[in-house]
């Protein structure tokens, strides 16, 4: 009898549900990559749980053959907390969107990150409310005209990466729906990290906000508009890899490697395990002033919330022994009536 574990296939994670996203939606690409990497991660479907909130992205759990909860708006990290701390044997994924995680669920999002709960949070950022048909979201750009902002959004947009750095998340990454190889790699990295893994995915809503990330998706432009992060490597970008990021004091600046005489060694080197300041600086790099970093911004180790909770439970038992209910009830000041 063979004791080898069965090899998992993508089809093992395919549920029997009809997918109801709009044709052409970026969510399909993310689903496909997720189903591709889940077998490679090696956690069987029955040990995998997907928890989502509300929104287009949050339909995701229905389409994966695992355990799943499609919960209420913004609250997926809270549900995941209760499940993860009590069930260390499970692999828990949180699927959320820009409205779900950053608007109605902002509180749970930051507390999940700062606690370092061992879950993977994948934020599908399409900079719009899709399921409610086209209102602006907290990541919509200032001045964006939408169904609820005919004169343009007054709000300054929220930068999810800066929120993640501010909450001292231990794993922060960004990828793009159409960049499938990079996306698959990023999801795997997220799964491998112990603690909250936060991944922002640039996701196109082709119905209500088509082309919001075109610059990052289009093969013709993306080398110039994004910069792929590589740990320990100098930050170089451009189709001809002729431009780099150099630090001028605390401020990053773009330098032309072909004309300025600046050498690669003078550039900013990416360090996933560096100070939060480094990740913050990357988070601040936005279009049109800078190419936007794609990849793992930060990957550090810190005790996870679930580990801490379980450690306390274990040490309480080690110190006091397993609780005896009768002793508790009968202890302290009591009296007898004959």
């Amino acid at each position: 009898m063979s004791t080898a574990l069965p090899v998992l296939k993508s089809s093992d994670f395919t549920s029997d549900q009809d997918i109801r996203w709009c044709p052409g939606c970026g969510d399909y690409a993310i689903l496909a990559q997720m189903k591709k990497v889940l077998p490679e991660i090696g956690v069987p479907p029955e040990k995998t749980v997907f928890i989502s909130g509300i929104g287009c992205s949050s339909r995701f759990p229905y389409y994966i053959n695992s355990y799943g909860v499609h919960s209420i708006h913004g609250r997926a990290p809270a549900l995941a907390t209760g499940l993860r701390v009590t069930r260390p044997d499970l692999s828990v994924w949180v699927i959320t969107g820009d409205g779900d995680a950053l608007s109605i669920g902002g509180n749970h999002f930051i507390h999940c990150l700062r606690r370092n709960l061992d879950v993977n949070v994948i934020l599908f950022n399409n900079r719009i409310y899709g399921l409610t048909k086209g209102q602006y979201s907290p990541t919509s750009f200032s001045g964006q005209v939408t169904k609820s902002t005919p004169m343009g959004a007054v709000d300054h947009p929220l930068n999810p990466m800066m929120v993640a750095v501010g909450a001292e998340a231990t794993f922060i990454a960004r990828s793009v729906d159409s960049n499938i190889k990079h996306l698959a790699y990023t999801l795997k990295r997220a799964a491998a990290h112990k603690g909250t893994s936060f991944v922002e995915v640039y996701q196109n809503c082709n119905v209500f906000n088509d082309g919001a990330w075109a610059y990052a998706q289009d093969k013709a432009t993306r080398d110039d508009t994004t910069i792929e992060l590589e740990h320990g490597k100098p930050m170089i970008f451009g189709k001809d890899r002729d431009r780099g990021i150099r630090l001028n004091g605390l401020t990053p600046e773009i330098v032309d490697l072909s004309t300025s005489g600046v050498k690669e060694d003078d550039l900013l080197f990416h360090d996933e395990r560096g100070d939060a300041m480094h990740a913050f600086l990357l988070a601040r790099m936005r279009r049109p002033d800078f190419p936007e970093p794609i990849g793992v911004f930060r990957d550090i180790q810190r005790e996870t919330f679930d580990e801490g909770m379980r450690f306390q439970a274990q040490s309480a038992i080690e110190k006091k022994g397993r609780g005896d209910l009768q002793k508790l009830f009968s202890g302290g000041d009591t009296w007898k009536v004959a």
């Binding site: 995941a80 499940l83 009590t86």
Partner: protein, 636 residues
């Protein structure tokens, strides 16, 4: 640990009385709650039946000496059964002018009034907004006024320990305690043990000073001429057993442990701090070695949602709050209804609306917990009737939650939560199990149906990690059986009916309603929750008068007991006392078409027995001479 305790015996005459109601009041920083708790414990240990009513402001340290800052603790201890902290006071201890003027109205004529006369100076009178000293008022002749220079006497008593002025002054609540202990013949051993445990390690000098102040207070009582005799309250004739003093919030926590033990389920307890529910959290954190995991969430919504997540994973999931927090949890409670997962939601009610009266009691969240969710989202509701009863209702709730696969709401209130009474210690080995089952790995090719039903309409509690049972649940309407998303009109009708019927099925798991007193008659007093003691005592008094009145106290509010309609039909009138504007009355009137009469109070205080008794008299006649009445048998 060894403490030298002297068995102090008074040499003055002792008057035997059947019960005493005393209130201790002073500044919220004066340690009145501690004084009250100690007197309660000591009286319980003396074998008295007890009922307590702590009453304190929401502010932690309201401005010193002001009326707003007055904190009080009332306790009734008796040699007979008591169910309330008492209506009028036999004795009032007032530590300052503000405490005196805000509490004097409750002291009976001829009652004992002990004041700290050192506090009746110009400054404290001014803080209490008094132009003249109330101690010189002619109305003082109505009371047995004993003026005690507590500040000065305490200072002198503890002088040998070299404490600072403030520290020495802080000992005066123990001086007052010693005096009260002398007055009621209470042993000091338990309180000396308490002082030792609380102060000895951190500050041995403070421990010694407090012990000395306690003893000085006792000796003062023994010495002064103004107190000619002390009182003796004999042990009450409680049913045989082993007892301890129990507060409501503590009973709730211990009941959770018992339910966990009976169902062999570890607890995930998620909460956000809120008065008056936080003490349940404070109690639960002590039990990590009992399989309890506590989670102080970032907000009320996270608390309930994390509990739902834990329930999905197979834990005994609990969340607690008070009205404002329950409002925030509303949407998630609807999710729990839709997911059909067992979940306990405890609401320790307080005065509302909005922030309302955080430290005061009220029963005004009944309709909120019945209906405060979008859609048809029925949830069973059970209400505790007394501090000790919290231990029972929470176990009933967990039994219902697991047998029906449903969230269950337990109502307590500020009065029950902070009140205390003697509690018969149960025999853990005789507790019956609560059976909880999870389906095992799938062994055949048939599809797993997460929304299939048993005879109670409960669905299977399949938990992650089980091979072959992968399924998705969510807030969208589900297809019967498969649990798949369904927008089918007939399916929605069917699922709505199933969810309603499932909650109705709870009545099959619960005992029928009992009636206290005759099964038929002129008047039925129908009550629920924390008003139990006042209603029962008022009914007993009216029954002794020869009035045709019976009492039904509801613990199960949704669904109501299956025989309630039948019971109601046997009485001419139904009187419903509630600390709201008639919320249960609205439900009873609509469900049973009974023209129930309300007795409604919204003062942040529990009913007095007198208030209920008066209303009973208004709606009943004396139909039998007291002697001729048959013996009333207590049931339930």
């Amino acid at each position: 640990m060894s403490i030298e305790t002297k068995s102090l015996e008074t040499t003055k005459p002792v008057q035997n009385v059947s019960g005493i109601t005393v209130r201790l009041c002073g500044d919220s920083g004066d340690g009145m709650q501690l004084l009250g708790t100690q007197l309660t414990n000591t009286s319980a240990l003396a074998g008295n039946d007890i009922a307590t009513f702590p009453d304190f402001p929401a502010e932690i340290r309201a401005p010193r000496g002001t009326r707003a800052g007055v904190s009080g603790f009332q306790v009734q201890f008796a040699s007979h059964e008591v169910h309330t902290p008492g209506d009028t006071l036999d004795a009032l201890v007032a530590m300052n002018p503000a405490a005196l003027v805000t509490n004097l109205a409750d002291l009976r004529k001829g009652g004992l009034l002990i004041v700290n006369e050192d506090s009746f100076d110009d400054r404290d009178l001014k803080l209490a907004k008094l132009k003249t000293c109330p101690l010189e008022d002619p109305s003082m002749e109505n009371y047995r006024l004993v003026k005690v220079a507590m500040t000065r006497l305490t200072k002198e008593a503890v002088a040998e320990f070299g404490l600072g002025v403030k520290e020495a002054d802080r000992c005066k609540n123990f001086f007052a305690m010693g005096l009260v202990y002398w007055l009621y013949g209470r042993g000091m051993d338990a309180t000396l043990r308490f002082i030792h445990g609380k102060f000895a390690a951190g500050s041995p000098v403070v421990a010694k000073a407090n012990e000395k102040a306690l003893q000085a207070g006792w000796s003062f009582g023994e010495t002064i001429e103004a107190l000619g005799h002390s009182y003796q309250v004999d042990a009450a004739e409680l049913p045989a057993g082993h007892y301890r003093n129990m507060m409501g919030n503590q009973a709730m926590a211990w009941g959770l442990l018992a339910a966990s033990h009976r169902s062999k389920k570890d607890i995930f307890y998620a909460s956000y701090p809120i008065t008056p529910a936080s003490d349940i959290l404070h109690e639960m954190v002590k039990f990590k070695n009992y399989g309890v995991m506590t989670f102080q969430a970032e907000d009320e919504i996270a608390a309930v949602c994390s509990a739902i997540g834990a329930a999905y994973g197979g834990q005994m999931a609990v969340t607690t709050s008070s009205g404002p927090g329950i409002a925030l949890k509303g949407e998630a409670m609807g999710l729990a209804v839709m997911l059909e997962l067992p979940l306990l939601i405890i609401n320790v009610q307080r005065g509302g609306p909005s922030t309302g009266l955080p430290t005061k009691t009220e029963q005004s969240d009944l309709l909120q917990v019945m209906f405060g969710r979008n859609g048809e989202a029925p949830i069973p509701v059970i209400a505790a009737q007394s501090p000790g009863d919290c231990f029972n209702v929470i176990q009933d709730a967990w039994m219902l939650a697991t047998q029906l696969m449903s969230p269950v709401i337990v109502l307590s209130d500020g009065y029950i939560a902070n009140g205390s009474e003697p509690w018969a210690i149960p025999d853990v080995s005789r507790m019956t199990p609560i059976k909880v089952e999870h389906p095992g790995p799938k062994t055949d090719d048939n599809p797993f149906l997460p929304y299939s039903r048993n005879e109670l309409l409960a669905r299977p509690w399949a938990i992650p990690g089980t091979e072959g049972l992968m399924h998705r649940v969510g807030g969208l309407e589900k297809e019967d059986g498969t649990g798949n998303i369904s927008y089918d009109p007939d399916n929605h009708q069917k699922m709505t009916n199933i969810r309603a019927q499932k909650v109705e099925n709870a009545a099959k798991l619960l005992p029928p309603q009992q009636v206290y007193g005759p099964q038929n008659g002129e008047l039925l007093v129908l009550s629920w929750g924390g008003t139990y003691g006042a209603c029962l005592t008022a009914v007993q008094r009216a029954q002794r008068d020869g009035r045709s009145v019976s009492h039904v106290h509801l613990r199960y509010l949704n669904p109501m007991p299956s025989n309630l309609g039948e019971i109601l039909s046997h009485f001419d009138k139904v009187l419903m006392p509630e600390l709201n504007l008639g919320q249960l009355r609205m439900l009873v009137r609509s469900k049973y078409l009974v023209d129930a009469i309300g007795l409604n109070k919204m003062k942040g205080k529990p009913f007095t027995v007198g208030e209920v008794y008066e209303k009973i008299c208004e709606h009943s006649t004396i139909s039998a001479t007291p002697a001729a009445r048959p013996q009333i048998v207590k049931v339930g």
